[in-house]
Symmetry: C2
Subunit: 212 residues, 2 copies
């Protein structure tokens, strides 16, 4: 497997896997890049190019075998595994994340949450215990954690990210509204609905009567 | 303004605007593409290229004027305006979105929420009234709404998106775990933490001892 697979390609693979899971549930055994592209609003050429990084799938003009492509993608992405998460920040946003029902069925389990607020420490949220933030480093020394979710206020986010990285976490899902910095060997994804909306308002403005 | 600005460029502009706002708050008046790139983990060349779509900013070797670049970006993105949102789906996720404190200060106001659950209808959530889902079309006929937020279960999401589009909504923020389809003149953004994590687990797997 080549080391130079572009990140945008990796980011599209889970979308392909989700669509193939849907097709599998519907009992479909073969899908063309054309049909998959229409499902996902991606060009067939893009799909063929993305998948070509991982070997040869399907035959020209015959489409992809849904089951075998899906199981290969699941293996590449580690979708079949159980992944262990911690959540840092149990304010309004953190509580919503902890109680969101969509992680568990996909193999993502929040094993512990951390907060500085003594009123929250000792509670259980979404099935996970809320621990004192000062316990974070000790916890990570003794417990395997794959992904750290950051849901603290903007001003606290970079120090929390730094702590997670120093403790060996290599994947961070950041909900705080900042561009957090991580070393090259750490992967970070930002979830930021405000930025998403600000990119859409560009298009709304442009479509207005009288817009340039 | 050219019509062919790539969407990835538009998506980066709000990040630039946020960083410039931060620099402005710190009292900085000039920033180089190098320094801005370091703040954002983007190459200086990328920043110069992205901004070149919108005219000439800054002078070679002199850096960008923070105030004027920021005000131009705010104008391009419509950041100075008030935008009116509706929220469809007031389950656990929808409630968290409605109560999230980060939208209002950025000019995004949820003016109404919609749900099919009679137990929720009539309540107020995050300052917005919860209306019966069947009221959606009538509401949109009489009220200006810029962005529709979709927070319904996966199986209900596409029909809701279709209704929003039919009623004239041109920007959709979709939290449901599906790739929803919209016509070309409608912009959609997906917020999906599971997909984000599945793209990170690729890197975790690859870094493991014994990985190919």
């Amino acid at each position: 497997m080549s080391l130079e697979i572009p990140e945008v390609v990796i980011n599209r693979l889970p979308v392909y896997a989700r669509a193939l899971t849907e097709l599998q549930l519907r009992g479909e055994s073969v899908v063309s890049s054309q049909a998959l592209g229409e499902l996902l609003d991606v060009t067939p050429a893009q799909i063929r190019k993305d998948l070509s990084y991982f070997g040869r799938f399907g035959k020209q003009g015959r489409g992809y075998n849904v089951n075998s492509l899906l199981s290969k993608l699941r293996e590449i992405l580690g979708i079949d595994r159980q992944w262990r998460l911690i959540l840092v920040g149990v304010g309004r946003l953190g509580q919503a994340i902890a109680e969101y029902g969509g992680f568990g069925p996909q193999g993502f389990e929040i094993v512990a949450a951390f907060d500085a607020n003594p009123a929250l420490v000792g509670r259980t949220i979404g099935g996970a215990p809320v621990l004192e933030i000062d316990e974070l480093e000790r916890f990570l020394k003794t417990t395997r954690v794959d992904i750290g979710i950051v849901a603290v206020p903007a001003g606290d986010a970079q120090p929390v990210v730094d702590k997670l990285v120093a403790a060996g976490i290599r994947a961070i899902l950041n909900y705080a509204p900042i561009t957090a910095h991580v070393p090259r060997d750490v992967t970070i994804r930002h979830i930021d609905p405000v930025l998403a909306m600000q990119s859409m308002t560009f298009y709304i403005k442009r479509a207005e009567p009288g817009a340039k």
